[in-house]
């Protein structure tokens, strides 16, 4: 792991201890078994807000602590280990990033203190089809006399069922496939014509599909500039990808640790199964994948904090490498545990379900391979 600052070390210790003691996977299981639509427990969410993690990125003047993405990553890695369910990532990182990057003062004043306090949940609504494809936005926002009318739908919006407001990417000009003509809007959840349908997903996280039927917002709802929203969206997405990659890294690291522990204790044929070379070599290879994924995730977060030109390429790299490692690790967690790994009573199922959902969110491995290589002119 990267050399941490004192502040980061403190937050890491806090996140580690709290996740382990107060929000272990048993708590996630209880939430899952309760069948709640929200995908998280209010008590957990209040704990998180109380520790101030929701305000990590938000300036002190607006109720946050004004720290950086690398620090957020440290926390998400720990919560990711225990599959902690909450809108921390969707609102505290993604929603906040949109406002921080392009919100005007009024928008910031209105929403960021609430995000920091955990009293407002703001999330991003971008995709409209089964695959992540921000350039393919088709949802329309028709301008007339100073207001906009939104029509269309958004799918798989993270924490969509709990959100107080959505950052919505819609098309004010051009057609699907073009990056020009996209505008970001901040749309409160209670706006007339906006329908929210929560989804029951395999990973028990909170997602919702949204429908927009003649949803009217005024010009003050525009984040940034009309028609020129794509670069902002892209920047927000890259922050989301790096943050999610940190969470995924944590999830995969915990799967690795638990599996390694099993390899050291489970006996078959009179020896611990980790002593069988086919398993030991796979564990060593997964260790390599883990270290490589970590390097990429940390480099992406650092690049964001440093304002590097390499943000897009490093965020695609991080999301892809964390995704590859989590994919393989979640499969091998089951395989190396054998039959027990297949039972719902054991936690491996939670890890593989979360794995595939996180992989698909904000672009899977295949998407980010294409995005990465497009930077090399082929």
């Amino acid at each position: 792991m990267a050399v941490l600052t004192e502040e980061q070390n403190m937050l890491k210790d806090q996140a580690q201890a709290w996740s382990r003691d107060e929000a272990p996977v048993t708590r996630f299981r209880k939430m899952r078994d309760s069948g709640t639509d929200a995908g998280y427990e209010q008590a957990t969410w209040q704990d998180i807000a109380g520790m101030g993690w929701t305000g990590i990125l938000i300036p002190e003047a607006l109720g946050g602590s004004g720290m950086d993405y690398a620090t957020f990553g440290v926390v998400l890695e720990e919560t990711g280990r225990h599959l902690v369910a909450s809108p921390l990532f969707a609102s505290g990182l993604v929603g906040a990033s949109a406002l921080l990057l392009a919100g005007n003062d009024a928008q910031k004043q209105q929403w960021l203190p609430g995000i920091a306090a955990g009293t407002s949940i703001v999330t991003l609504a971008v995709d409209e089809g089964p695959h992540h494809a921000p350039e393919q936005i088709a949802m329309t926002a028709d301008a007339s006399s100073g207001s906009f009318t939104l029509n269309g739908s958004k799918v798989f919006v993270l924490e969509g069922g709990s959100a107080d407001a959505f950052v919505v990417a819609a098309r004010t000009s051009g057609t699907a496939g073009e990056t020009d003509g996209i505008t970001l809007f901040l749309v409160p959840a209670d706006t007339s014509g906006l329908g929210v349908q929560p989804l029951k997903t395999a990973d028990s996280r909170g997602y919702a599909d949204l429908t927009f039927r003649d949803v009217k917002v005024d010009a003050a709802a525009v984040i940034g500039t009309a028609d020129a929203g794509f670069p902002i969206l892209d920047a927000v997405l890259d922050r989301a990808r790096a943050g999610l990659a940190a969470e995924m890294l944590g999830t995969a690291c915990e799967a690795f640790d638990r599996t390694l522990e099993y390899l050291k204790t489970r006996e078959q044929f009179g020896q611990v199964i980790g002593s069988f070379q086919s398993l030991g070599h796979r564990a060593a290879t997964l260790f390599m994948d883990m270290e490589f994924a970590r390097s990429c995730v940390e480099a992406a977060l650092r690049a964001i904090d440093e304002g590097s030109d390499e943000v897009p390429i490093l965020c695609s790299l991080a999301k892809c490498k964390a995704g590859e490692f989590l994919h393989d690790m979640s499969n091998d967690m089951i395989q190396m545990h054998g039959g027990i790994g297949m039972t719902d009573e054991f936690d491996a199922g939670f890890y593989i379900k979360r794995a595939r959902a996180a992989e698909a969110t904000f672009g899977g491995q295949s998407y980010h391979r294409r995005r990465y290589i497009s930077h090399f002119g082929i």
């Binding site: 089964p130 078959q268 044929f269 069988f276 395989q335 039959g339 039972t343 491996a348």
Partner: protein
């Protein structure tokens, strides 16, 4: 007219009289093979078939079997298939326990156990796996203490398919703690015996036919011992052969039920450009998946042709490994192609096919574990086929 033609006439005539045409091409209700209790036409068909003994066509008639020659059984099978007549009498009793009993049981045991299997009256479950003994099956600990005229059984079994519905269990149990392999006995027990408790297992994909079975001071009469005491491992191993062949022989279809057409999913969820899948990398991966499945099918056919001439080859050991790999690859591709539509669990937000794909994908993860893990199977191939030492 040859004898076989005469038999064909007999089979046709009998099926005309006894197979309810409304059941044509339908599968028996309940969990296939785990013996649901039947009613109506299905019950009538079960009774006819069982009384005729054609649920076990080649078993000796003296135990209620059909007493048919292999050739006659083939004719019967073809006739039943041609009119879509599916036997509702199957499961462990027909597929594994009966054949094993014919080899290893005493005359008295055959008379006692075989007729109700053939009639489909008694449903069996198989007590093999234990929590502490996965791939190392012989490391089982459920202990049947010898009390003279009976055993007292304590311990537990896991992964017991159909235990909730079963009337009886056969299985392997420890009777000597000092000998790993020569301390195992093959016993049967009545699932209604006091001290037997069954707890269903939910899988990561949802409900399952699997159970845990707990034994607390369960009394098992000595007459329920098959073969000799402490020498049950050989009987148990023989039975396992049937299991592995049964699983790998299902030929690429997943136990949960086939997933839907991969090309159609590609068209619907990724789309074509100029008649070709828009994602060239995914297109290659689909090609690789389909070509592997094709090669698997051709290999199964070839092994069959060769076995008919040269006898069976240990090379079939690779088929179980390949089957698991094929299933898991296909399901991963399907889930990836579905994108966020491949993450649903229940509810109206997803189509039935989407929800089914997610469950099938999760269920497929067991394919490389059940019926011998991929690792164990590769060990076996290394040892038995390649002649390598140390496996």
């Amino acid at each position: 007219m040859s004898d076989l033609d005469a038999f064909r006439e007999e089979a046709r005539s009998w099926l005309n009289d006894h197979f309810p045409s409304g059941l044509a091409h339908r599968s028996p209700p309940g969990i296939a093979g785990f013996g649901a209790r039947l009613t109506g036409d299905w019950k009538a068909w079960q009774t006819s078939l069982g009384e005729k003994g054609w649920s076990a066509p080649t078993w000796p008639a003296e135990y209620g079997g059909g007493g048919l020659s292999p050739e006659q059984a083939q004719v019967l099978g073809a006739e039943m298939a041609s009119r879509g007549a599916i036997s509702p009498i199957g499961g462990f009793g027909i597929m594994m326990w009966g054949p094993t009993l014919l080899d290893f049981g005493t005359e008295e045991q055959k008379q006692r156990y075989l007729p109700p299997i053939i009639r489909g009256d008694i449903h069996w479950c198989q007590g093999y796996s234990e929590p502490g003994a996965g791939s190392d099956l012989a490391n089982l600990q459920s202990f049947a203490e010898d009390k003279g005229d009976h055993f007292i059984l304590n311990g537990s079994k896991v992964w017991t398919s159909g235990a909730l519905e079963a009337d009886w269990m056969y299985g392997v149990f420890r009777t000597d703690r000092n000998n790993k392999y020569e301390g195992i006995s093959f016993l049967t027990l009545d699932m209604k015996s006091p001290g037997v408790e069954v707890k269903p297992i939910t899988l990561i994909s949802g409900q399952s036919p699997f159970n845990e079975v707990f034994f607390t001071d369960v009394v098992i009469p000595k007459e329920n011992l098959i073969g000799e005491k402490n020498l049950g491992w050989n009987i148990g191993k023989r039975l396992l052969l049937h299991e592995r062949q049964g699983i790998a022989g299902s030929g690429g279809a997943n136990v949960v039920g086939g997933s839907y057409d991969i090309e159609q999913v590609a068209r619907d969820y990724i789309g074509l450009e100029n008649g070709v899948l828009a994602d060239g990398a995914m297109r290659e991966r689909i090609a690789m998946q389909k070509m592997f499945a094709h090669a698997y099918a051709l290999t199964g056919r070839r092994f069959g042709e060769e076995a008919a001439v040269h006898g069976p080859t240990p090379a079939v050991g690779i088929m179980k490994v390949a089957w698991a790999k094929d299933n898991q690859n296909r399901e991963e591709l399907l889930v990836e192609m579905l994108g966020n539509r491949g993450l649903g669990w229940e509810g109206s937000g997803f189509s039935d096919n989407e929800l089914k794909t997610v469950r099938t994908w999760l269920r497929s993860k067991a394919n490389s574990i059940e019926g011998g893990t991929t690792e164990i199977n590769l060990n076996l191939v290394a040892k038995r086929v390649l002649g390598l030492k140390g496996y």
